[in-house]
Amino acid sequence: MARGSVRREVRIKRPADEVWAIVGDPARVQEWFTGIDSSTVDGTTCVVTTGSGLPMPEEIVTNDPIQRRFQYRITAGMFNEHLSTIDVVDLGDGTSLVTYAADADPGTMALIIAGAAGSALLELRDRLEVQEEPR
């Protein structure tokens, strides 16, 4: 098993455009992805720094606000191949489904990325839904 494909998802009780405003902006990833301390975006390249101080260079492959799809590749040496895809799907009732799929060789890294992303999606949901609650 060289390559692995792992998906995580969350339903968020907020409109898709509102969710996309955060998910589709790579400069804001540290706001919702626990374990990423900072990000620097320059055109289609992005460097995030993890909580362990590890710089992780990325290539932004797709940033499509119409489909609300964001794709990136990690170009660091630990990967032979990587593609992560984040989709924000409008469920038509004012809520959204966010999926985060990681495909990687070695497959272990797909689980590490998507595993962290699963936790991040829950953080994103909690953050957005708390904003909605009446005071």
């Binding site: 374990g35 909580g51 362990s52 992780m56 272990t108 936790s119």
Partner: protein, 515 residues
């Protein structure tokens, strides 16, 4: 009046038969044997999971994996999960966890799990405690990673780091390579001096913490050795203790391949699929290693090195107990020695672990020596008990009520005590879902039988199972699941198994890393 203090000693992946007091002859374990001789030795202690994270979470919470939610390695135990250490700390005990924690995944490049992050900030968690422990010093099987032991090596002895085995290969899979005499996987020549190896480091740090306490302090110390879990890379200076050429093959290993294959073909088919290298259901065994290639000499070498690691643990424990005596606590300390799960060390032609609920993985060493001041008498308990009973035992030792959220009960001190308190059965569970392969097993051990039911998964249709008579078939080589003569026995065990399933954690926790 001072309360009884508690030294909770765990190893990682240690078989029942590795201790002299349990009939083992390969490793010399006089310290644990002496504890057993003056304490209570359990002959049928089972884990509630046969892998690290769920099993350790059970020891901490006193709950089944289904209930605490850590259903496989890689699923982190929530930081706010119930903890017996927190119960003891609230009652005034000083609390420490020194050695291997593994309530959260180790593979963590984002450093988002608390136990991996804590070592960056010292030994005292922010907020005062973490899972009820006020002092934390962590180690695992390697010299790499963010934990205290690795950081200590990097700071003090960086020249030896490269001598340790690389647990993962370049593909981040559990490494199948070995550079011992036989080419056995995870066997490695490690030139590290003994005093810098993690076994002695864990004992040293435990002694240092004990020395920091006042004479009248009450304390609970979980001393958690990473060995004898693979890799088998003990300090090379110690390897000569046991000549692997002289090591007898274990009774569960047949040198006749057709005999081995006949035995595993009588079991649910994931056994044979793994043996042939066609299915790897879990991350804990090397994906690139094919068990069918295991040779008798490799079994001997693995068992020899494993025994050396057991001896080093025994000697390290001896040093800690000597220090406890020097502090004047000798009559007031309860010592509990056990492990999180066992290991296949040649049984059925296999190594490592997985969804295989047989004695190699499930029958554990467990010894409890109550404080001499408690006046308990030595005993051997044959009734089934579980690691789930440890947390209530610690509460009882401390004179505390067992919290309602704990699902076990304090360990029995005799078989009569076990009968009186209905220690009839012990349950073990397995769930794994990894890269498209799902395996789900529920097991009951009761009345001298062990019965495992396989729920529907990737390679099981929900009808398969295993049934063994532990008295007539101690090696579990004859699966009686489909034997008409055992049908009523099987159905009775299954009914009991399903009647006693614990409540599930809601929501189901996510798998966040491989291990």
């Amino acid at each position: 009046m001072p309360r009884r203090k508690i030294l909770f000693v765990t190893t990682d992946q240690q078989r029942y038969d590795t201790l002299g007091c349990n009939g083992g002859t390969l490793a010399s374990t006089p310290v644990v044997d002496a504890i057993a001789a003056s304490g209570i030795r359990y002959e049928r202690a089972h884990p509630q999971s046969v892998v690290c994270m769920p099993s350790r979470a059970t020891m901490l919470t006193g709950q089944y994996p289904t209930t605490h939610g850590v259903w496989m390695n890689g699923v982190p135990l929530p930081v706010n999960a119930p903890s017996v250490a927190a119960v003891l700390h609230r009652a005034g005990y000083h609390t420490a966890l020194i050695g291997k924690p593994h309530f959260e995944p180790f593979l963590d490049p984002f450093l988002r799990f608390a136990e991996n992050a804590i070592a960056q900030h010292g030994t005292t968690p922010s907020g005062g405690t973490h899972r009820g422990f006020e002092h934390l010093e962590f180690a695992t099987h390697t010299a790499a990673g963010p934990l205290h032991y690795s950081r200590w090596l990097l700071a003090e002895h960086p020249e030896v780091i490269g001598g340790f085995y690389s647990v993962l290969d370049s593909a981040l899979q559990v490494n199948a390579a070995g550079d011992g005499d036989t080419g056995a996987p995870q066997v490695h020549v490690n030139p590290v001096p003994r005093e810098w190896y993690h076994t002695d480091w864990v004992a040293d740090r435990t002694i240092a913490w004990l020395d920091s306490l006042g004479a009248d302090d009450d304390w609970f110390c979980w001393m958690s050795f990473p060995d004898p879990h693979h890799p088998w890379d003990p300090p090379q200076s110690e390897v000569g203790r046991i000549d692997w050429h002289e090591v007898p093959l274990p009774p569960g290993y047949s040198t006749d391949a057709s005999d081995r294959e006949r035995i595993i073909d009588d079991k649910p088919r994931h056994w044979r699929l793994w043996y042939d290298g066609e299915l790897v259901s879990n991350y804990e065994a090397p994906a690139e290693w094919v068990p069918a290639t295991l040779t008798p000499d490799q079994v001997r070498e693995v068992n020899a090195r494993n025994a050396v690691e057991c001896e080093l643990i025994d000697e390290a424990l001896g040093r800690v107990l000597a220090r406890i005596d020097e502090r004047g606590w000798g009559d007031d300390v309860d010592v509990v020695f056990t492990t999180d799960h066992g290991e296949l060390q040649g049984d059925f032609g296999l190594l490592f672990k997985g969804p295989y609920h047989v004695d190699a993985l499930m029958r554990l060493p467990l010894v409890w020596r109550p404080a001499r001041s408690a006046g308990a008498t030595a005993a051997v308990v044959r009734s089934p008990v579980g690691l789930i009973d440890l947390a209530p035992t610690f509460c009882t030792i401390a004179g505390l009520e067992t919290p309602e959220w704990m699902q076990g009960q304090a360990l029995p001190e005799t078989d009569a005590d076990a009968d009186e308190r209905s220690f009839e059965r012990v349950l073990t569970e397995w769930d794994s879902e990894l890269f498209g392969v799902g395996v789900h097993v529920r097991t009951i051990t009761r009345g001298g039988w062990v019965c495992s039911a396989y729920r529907t998964g990737t390679v099981h249709d929900g009808t398969e199972g295993e049934l063994y008579d532990l008295e007539d078939d101690p090696l579990q080589q004859h699966n009686r699941w489909n034997d008409p003569a055992c049908r009523s026995q099987r159905d009775d065990l299954l009914a009991d198994l399903w009647d006693n399933q614990p409540p599930a954690h809601e929501p189901r926790l996510q798998l966040e890393a491989p291990v």
